[in-house]
Point group: C2
Chain length 293, copies 2
């Protein structure tokens, strides 16, 4: 079986038009010929088709509220059961968890000013920003997903940056925002798996509706002037609290893996070799020596 | 005394040129006539001047590594003592903590291809992305700050989005990133102050080098289709772990403020009135009813 591709499909740029679901499928832009969500529970969803199936869907162009799958009578199309967070719905939830881009295709039967007049159009990559359940018009629970365009200058982050930047402000009345950017590389995935999403400081494992959540922290930061490497010997698996504290000068790690600034020892897997030079770099740069601070 | 302005100064757009430090000061673009950092330890830093004072400074145009203040012999200009995380240095650290934009002014004496030929030029808003200490060329510790341009299409977030978006990828080899966007409104500041940065679920207070850290969580999300309000009756003060769990369907809050999904009760301040409708909204939409999931 072909590997699932998260991102653009080569040869089919944004705006590509397709006559039918089978043309979409052959191009690899959206493989299933019937289902609205392409993906797996384990890997995440790589594409969705908007084709007017659910009356609750909302389309604001760069932002879409998409209703999950399941629970409908195949003949009448009416919702006759609750939807569950499984199959395509769980795949979309996994795409949020792992920040995977989802290809969005609009069909002519999708009721929106953004739909093509005929056939299907590939409209680019979106990120799943949130998902929740609600009682649909039928009275049954459905799952809903907020997808936000992820390209050029139309991302959520950018429009918010603009909004803020265009206003003059004093601390008492201004809006600020926090952008916490965490690159999720293949190495980051490996470290999280190695520790089964448990924090190496406190052992916490955060469990949500789409699976466990942890963060990968680079010991010596990536990029100039630090030039840390993106490799297991420079990574830790941490809960969000200890990630904030590690980056925020609250604790560091000694050569013998005892923690400095908090009690205890770093939890280590037998196969996880941490480069002592990276720990030294963190101690020197991110753990203020209290003698002179 | 005039209020400190974080952001652009009206009447002085990016690119504005000034003959001298006193002209800069009179315009309000950078008030102190000698110090390189304008700001206070409590409020944060609102502007810096790059004037070649420190040989360790690095200037990549949209990204600057700026050396903090203090410890230099005023006559020779040589580093003769360690720098401390206080005064202007602590002000810059506070600007990172609160995500305050910092005006950057380059002077002609700053050694960089981006410097003006004479006088001083206002070069726009930057965000403090990180800070750390290191031994400067003198052997004494200095504090260094990474500032990243915060405007138009030159923000860190944007360039990374572009980078990712232009590559075709499969899950095994791709880089993804997590953008956690948390608006820090005036109400968010109030709720954090009310609880003295302690999590309302676990009581944790994260302490870093520039002060305590907590996150403000909207109970009913802002924006369509939820349309929650940005007001204290819709806000909680949480640690990052419980913020993730609250948004990620792991727990909710009953009408009597007992926690659902985890043990215990929500910690509440006598002056904090939470709207029960907002709690109900969260339970219905963000805490899956296990009977039908």
């Amino acid at each position: 079986m072909t590997k699932r591709v998260f991102g653009h499909i080569e040869g089919f740029p944004v705006g590509s038009w397709f006559e039918s679901r089978s043309a979409l499928s052959q191009a690899g832009v959206h493989r299933p010929t019937q289902a609205g969500i392409a993906g797996s529970e384990r890997e995440g969803a790589d594409s969705i088709v908007l084709s007017g199936g659910y009356e609750d869907d909302v389309d604001w162009g760069d932002e879409i509220i998409y209703t999950g799958q399941g629970g409908r009578n195949p003949v009448s199309g009416r919702q006759v059961e609750h939807q569950h967070l499984n199959r395509g719905n769980l795949a979309l939830a996994k795409s949020k968890l792992h920040r995977l881009p989802v290809r969005v295709i609009r069909g002519s039967t999708h009721k929106s000013r953004y739909s093509p007049e005929t056939g299907y159009r590939y409209d680019g990559l979106f990120l799943v920003e949130d998902y929740w359940q609600e009682r649909g018009k039928s009275g049954y629970y459905v799952w809903r997903f907020r997808l936000v365009k992820y390209s050029g200058d139309e991302t959520l982050a950018e429009s918010q940056v603009r909004e803020e930047q265009s206003s003059y402000s004093v601390p008492e009345c201004r809006e600020t925002m926090i952008l916490r950017i965490v690159r999720d590389t293949e190495q980051a995935r490996r470290i999280k798996k190695l520790y089964d999403f448990r924090c190496q400081v406190c052992g916490t494992r955060l469990e949500g509706s789409a699976g466990p959540y942890a963060e990968a922290a680079h010991i010596r930061p990536l990029g100039a002037p630090h030039n840390g490497t993106d490799s297991l010997d420079n990574l830790l698996c941490l809960c969000p609290n200890h990630h904030v504290l590690f980056d925020y000068h609250a604790f560091s790690i000694a050569e013998d893996f005892s923690l400095i600034g908090i009690d205890g020892y770093l939890i280590r897997h037998a196969r996880h070799r941490i480069n002592p030079e990276n720990l030294r770099y963190h101690r020197e740069h991110y753990y203020p020596d209290m003698d002179h601070v």
